[in-house]
């Protein structure tokens, strides 16, 4: 089994393991963030570039360093490989750059976004980004659309991780949505007004790292941190029926898959992902329909649960930014200071 050293810690992993998964096995602060990789979806990853790491030694056999940072989610470890993640200031700066790219056209409408509190982009920005934006242009916007009766597509928030496309490809019998156009106007779309309608389509909502795909049966019902997540199950003909229900009092506000510490769908004892069907997700909203197993374990790394922005730096940044924009032709109505473009 190959041995890999990540941020000075060495771990032995099975042949073919990616750097990201090796880091996850190790745990701790050296795990690179990942926005598009999703272990239960084949061929996912490589697009967002947030998981980049520096390989300072390729392998025992070929010790040359890799010339460019590599996507840790798509690069397999070699025996003797040495990887730098948080120990490389250059790499962290490069990652901050990627975060900035992901945010320049993001609406920052967290106060009214259902994903807030469990949004991977929030966490990413909080942990790897900067408080100040250098982008002074009008942000890209798209019309909100309903793709089917259950899912709202808010393309303006999308970071084009392709996960939902892979759900449709790999879980559903036919795919009716995909990525159309190209470059920075590429969008997730059905192209024509067509509903996404098949029994596993709801899983797209759970794989979406941001608030681009939200559950229409839950929209604006509650902030997620006001609801209580419980692991529960029921007998279901279509799926395993093992889900996470989000309660307010005794009311089930929404049903999602059970997520692991990386925000991905949990697996059963045989390693199969516990996707849930639309019947469980959208139509089983009485607490009595479910057998509650107990409170779910929720990752504490979210920006909401952390709840301690360094106020002094933040104030300084904002003051700096104000000063920079003073007397400039930045129209608040369309500029970055107005998060109202939803």
């Amino acid at each position: 089994m190959p041995k890999v050293t990540i941020d000075n810690q060495t771990i032995e992993v099975p042949e073919g393991t990616t750097i990201l998964n090796a880091a996850r096995m190790m745990g701790g602060p050296s795990v690179p963030p990942a926005m598009c990789y999703y272990s239960s979806l084949k061929t996912s990853g490589g697009y967002c570039r947030t998981c980049i790491v520096k390989v300072t030694k390729g392998s025992e056999k070929d010790p040359r360093p890799m010339p460019k940072p590599v996507a840790s989610c798509r690069t397999s470890v070699m025996d003797g490989m040495v990887v730098e993640n948080i120990t490389s200031p250059d790499l962290l700066e490069a990652r901050a750059g990627v975060v900035e790219f992901l945010l320049i056209n993001h609406p920052l409408d967290c106060p009214i976004c259902d994903q807030a509190g469990e949004c991977h982009l929030q966490d990413l920005g909080y942990e790897n980004g900067k408080a100040l934006t250098r982008y002074k242009f009008r942000r890209r916007t798209f019309e909100k659309i309903d793709i089917g009766p259950y899912i709202k597509l808010h393309m303006t928030r999308c970071i084009l991780c392709y996960r939902c496309v892979k759900v449709a490809e790999q879980l559903c019998p036919g795919r009716v949505h995909g990525v159309i156009n190209r470059g920075d106007v590429a969008e997730i779309s059905t192209y024509i007004t067509e509903a996404i309608d098949n029994e596993f389509s709801g899983n797209m909502i759970d794989v979406c790292p941001v608030g681009a795909l939200t559950d229409r049966t839950f929209r604006f019902k509650s902030r997620v941190w006001f609801t209580k997540p419980m692991d529960a199950h029921r007998k279901c003909k279509t799926c395993a029926g093992k889900a996470r229900i989000w309660l307010k009092g005794s009311e089930v506000l929404r049903v999602t898959v059970r997520k692991d510490e990386w925000g991905e769908v949990q697996r059963d004892s045989e390693g199969g992902p516990l996707w849930i069907c639309n019947e469980c997700r959208f139509h089983t909203k009485k607490a009595s329909d479910w057998i509650i197993e107990g409170p779910s374990e929720i990752s504490r790394h979210s920006v909401i649960s952390a709840n301690h922005y360094d106020l002094a730096t933040l104030k300084l940044d904002v003051a700096k930014q104000r000063k920079k924009l003073e007397g400039k032709k930045v129209l608040l109505g369309e500029g970055p200071l107005n998060p109202n473009n939803v």
């Binding site: 795919r175 009716v176 995909g178 990525v179 159309i180 156009n181 190209r182 059905t190 192209y191 024509i192």
Partner: protein, 188 residues
């Protein structure tokens, strides 16, 4: 050739051509023929690809419609909205631009009374700008249909426009179906 017909169909000669092209790729990989087939479809159905036309292409290639929409919207040569009989594509990249492509575009806009991306009200001309067409040594240049028109000057633009206007009564197919005609000569 009505693009709004909900059930479009390839003409017999186009169908033969499509079948011939599909045989160029291994068994089960007929999706590979999508770009050539979309070119034929665009030539057959008025120079643009409507949803029913793309759906038909999907059916011919035995793939899902969204796969055709994804591809057609990625490549810049496919028009997803109706265009005029004569689509003028002026190169706007580097070398052409150094040698005055901007003036050529401005002149077209003035002469035709439309902006880039628009079609004249008589349905004759659509004006587009495109990226480098690998004709930098004869800049500025434009493409009309399959033809390259090179070393453009304002006078050349003027005579081009009047030349085209004189052919306005000719049917649309005349402008677009060169691809199919040329192809018929090839056996394999």
């Amino acid at each position: 050739m009505n693009n709004n017909n909900p059930k479009p169909e390839f003409s017999p000669e186009a169908k033969t051509l499509v079948e011939k092209l599909m045989r160029r790729y291994p068994e089960g990989k007929q999706k590979s023929a999508i770009l050539p087939v979309l070119h034929i479809a665009q030539a057959e159905f008025g120079g643009w690809l409507s949803v029913p036309v793309m759906d038909m292409v999907a059916e011919v290639l035995k793939i899902q419609s969204i796969e055709v929409y994804e591809v057609a919207s990625f490549y810049s040569m496919f028009n997803l909205k109706p265009v005029g009989k004569c689509v003028i594509e002026v190169c706007r990249t580097g070398p052409c631009w150094l040698l005055g492509a901007e003036d050529i575009v401005a002149h077209f806009e003035k002469k035709l009374g439309i902006k880039v991306g628009e079609t004249t009200s008589d349905g004759m001309f659509t004006l587009k700008t495109v990226e480098c067409l690998a004709s930098c040594g004869t800049a500025p240049m434009m493409q009309v249909g399959e033809d390259y028109v090179e070393n453009l000057t304002l006078d050349k633009v003027d005579s081009f426009i009047s030349d085209c206007r004189s052919k306005i009564s000719e049917p649309v197919s005349h402008w677009n179906r060169k691809y199919i005609r040329e192809h018929e000569k090839i056996k394999q």
